[in-house]
Subunit: 109 residues, 4 copies
């Protein structure tokens, strides 16, 4: 990756996107899917936002900073929801989301 | 990431997607953009394919293996084109594409 | 849209992608989410595949035909699952998927 | 499409995303690619933003309105750049972008 300025945020977003995808799929395989509906909903948005954030930063897009500000919001919302659930996939996702939120907030300034 | 089976291929695809985005943007800033047109075109397709491959594997989608077979093709095409150009971004992209092609081929079997 | 050759397939894919997104979200709001888990899973894959199919065709990508062949498969799988459920969002999605499968199959030849 | 509230904005975004993809590809085939570099760069960002805007609205995501506000900005930037170029693909793209910007601005309020 050549964009050293954005590098740690790109990695955090790229990782968070995939952890959210995995979390949504694992939630769908839980016995009580009902209880995971909100988590799945946020995972989907968070995955899409983080994936595009990583893309825009890799491009050094002029949109990147403003996008990161919005991305941080969904990361926090998703991380807070995931943190409520004890399954490993949700706990792992909560950590990835919170880390990504911090990276995006730092980028957005 | 919980999908250990797919793990190294997910990482290769995720990395390749972003390196292709960065390469396309760097190509657009070259003095002779004309010479890079084919490279940019392939970078765009390769970035999209690799990003979706990483997503599908993270989801453990039943489509993942067949998708990886197709993804390997565009990675090879993009890697071969990039390898022709001496700029760092193209050489780095060629490496990421070839590595990703191998990982996807292994996954596709 | 300038790609008249691909035009009706692009429209079918573009529409199917969004109908699948709407169907997944509506499924998550059903009382018995459990029963919709498979539908949501397929909706996610189908939405991503159709969205990328539309993109590749709009670009006149050399990958478009092979991609459409794979896209048709997930459209059929998603359409068959949706057809089993009586809710409007699933019935509408089944129709969009089947129409898209046919368009993609025609394109793939 | 079941989201009547968002419907015309979803259609504008979905169309704009694909017109931008087509415009970027057509720009890459122009004799003077150099002159189109900025246009291609904006087309890529605008295509990605509009595609995700359409997705989020189709999901009735709580992020949709804020996302549309940001999407409107890139649509305007891309539309203004495209409007400078006389080729049909750029003129068509300028129109799609400006229409999409207006729809997104209306949605964002």
């Amino acid at each position: 990756m050549t964009n050293t300025m954005f590098n740690s945020c790109i990695q955090a977003c790229s990782n968070c996107a995939l952890v959210c995808e995995a979390c949504a799929s694992a939630c769908l395989r839980e016995e009580n899917v009902q209880a995971m509906a909100r988590c799945i909903e946020l995972d989907r948005d968070c995955a899409d936002m983080c994936a595009l954030a990583a893309r825009l930063m890799s491009r050094q897009s002029e949109l990147a900073k403003e996008f990161c500000a919005l991305c941080a919001k969904i990361c926090r919302a998703c991380g807070e929801e995931c943190a409520k659930h004890q399954m490993d996939h949700c706990q792992e996702c909560a950590k990835a989301c919170m880390n990504c939120a911090e990276e995006c907030e730092r980028m957005a300034v």
